[in-house]
């Protein structure tokens, strides 16, 4: 199983390396949205710094929608779908493999956005560095959920607009927990419960995915 998970992840990442969608489209979108957020909250540095954790996670959530869409599109053409279905791969391994690849991509863009947040929205370097493990956890949760919601929306009519309607409400806890954890570092308050919440969500999505991804693949 682990071998297949790694194979699927490696394949998705190789496609990303070839197409550079993350570098030339997703990351610039994220950074531009961050700039727009800075413009939207006004020029006062203290206000920007206070709102930075929330703005960062909103941008990360929006970016994750693009990455989910992109990952779903890899297997959108009928020929590709058929040739992959013929391989008869274990659906649980495919689910975890795709989530792993998405996690690497989201964590990479998230880290770039964190640098952008530090520079543009005046968050302390210490808080940004300390929040990195939480970002990794939050992006892992978003990836597991993203693969599931991406597969649910895939091949439906207007999949691009359907995905946000399905996924964004469900991403609310990740947004809250990530933002609170980041804010805890900014104002030095406890963050353990938010890490716990993200971990519970991660385990919940992983379990549902392992159980039900096969049913989604068959639809």
């Amino acid at each position: 199983m682990i071998r297949l998970v790694l194979l699927v992840a490696q394949k998705d990442l190789l496609i990303e390396r070839r197409s550079r969608v993350l570098l030339w489209q997703v990351a610039p979108f994220g950074l531009m949205t961050l700039v727009l957020c800075g413009l939207a909250v006004g020029p006062t540095a203290s206000t920007q710094a206070r709102l930075a954790p929330g703005l960062f996670y909103i941008v990360l959530t929006l970016v994750s929608l693009l990455v989910i869409n992109r990952t779903s599109q890899l297997e959108s053409s009928r020929g590709t779908v058929t040739s992959i279905q013929i391989l008869g791969m274990d659906p649980g391994s495919v689910f975890l493999g795709k989530a792993l690849a998405m996690w690497v991509q989201l964590a990479t863009v998230g880290s770039a956005l964190l640098v952008g947040t530090t520079v543009l929205l005046h968050v302390s370097v210490r808080a940004a560095v300390l929040t990195l493990p939480v970002l990794l956890l939050a992006s892992a949760t978003l990836s597991l959920a993203g693969v599931l919601y991406g597969r649910i929306a895939a091949s439906s009519a207007n999949a691009g607009t359907l995905l946000p309607a399905l996924a964004l409400p469900a991403f609310a806890p990740v947004l809250i927990a990530g933002e609170r954890a980041f804010s805890s570092l900014v104002v030095a308050s406890p963050l353990a419960r938010w890490v716990w919440l993200l971990s519970v969500a991660l385990v919940a999505y992983a379990s549902v995915g392992l159980l039900l991804y096969g049913a989604l693949e068959e639809s």
Partner: protein, 213 residues
């Protein structure tokens, strides 16, 4: 034992019956060519045999797997598929695509390079699939058949988009498969090369109109 046994199978898309009640038995080591006008259900029958479509009504087994149950997934691992559209991933090269496919199915990775040589893609084996012509993409699928050596070969219009050399190559591949005991089912609008000895299945209106050996 029959390779496939279908009993009054209906396959639908929405409320349109792609297959309107197919009853058919396919014998092992025989090559079948499915003919029929556009929309007669040829591709749908191939997809059903590949375990890619679930019947709405009727019953059947292919290679011993029940096509009405979750055994369809296992069935897919034992068939080879060549369709109209580009197979595998457009951004990956033939070598990368075939390596991925071979590793996930446990096929022989070492057989990939000789297979790509044989189909005349040695020079283009590292070019992303999206930059290959339709005929070259078909050749990649042919190379995959050589690596995979499936029990049941399912090919939708395999001669389409191929040049003379490609057609000869495909015929050679099919004859080799025939002699090695594979069952082949292909669709065709035109005449098959004389070296292919095939039984004919005529489809009309989503069902079998005639089977002739």
């Amino acid at each position: 034992m029959a390779v496939a046994s279908l009993c009054d199978v209906v396959v639908t898309a929405g409320s349109f019956p792609l297959l309107s009640g197919v009853t058919l038995t396919l014998e092992p080591t025989v090559t079948y060519v499915i003919t029929g006008s556009n929309g007669a259900g040829k591709t749908s029958l191939l997809r059903l045999l590949a375990g890619l479509e679930a019947p709405s009504r009727g019953s059947g087994t292919v290679l011993g797997f029940d096509i009405c149950s979750s055994q369809r997934r296992e069935l897919r691992r034992h068939v080879g598929w060549l369709g109209h559209e580009m197979s595998f991933y457009a951004d990956l090269s033939p070598v990368e695509n075939l390596k991925f496919a071979a590793r996930t199915t446990g096929a022989d990775v070492a057989a990939i390079t000789p297979a790509l040589d044989r189909v005349g893609l040695a020079q283009r084996s590292k070019v992303p699939m999206k930059f290959l012509s339709a005929g070259q993409q078909r050749r990649v699928s042919m190379a995959w058949f050589m690596v995979r050596r499936p029990q049941l070969w399912l090919m939708d219009e395999p001669y389409a988009s191929l040049d003379d050399e490609g057609r000869d190559l495909l015929s050679e591949l099919l004859v080799t498969a025939q002699t090695s005991g594979a069952t082949i089912v292909l669709t065709s609008h035109g005449l098959l090369p004389p070296e292919i000895d095939a039984a004919s299945i005529v489809m009309v209106g989503g069902r079998i109109a005639k089977v002739a050996s």
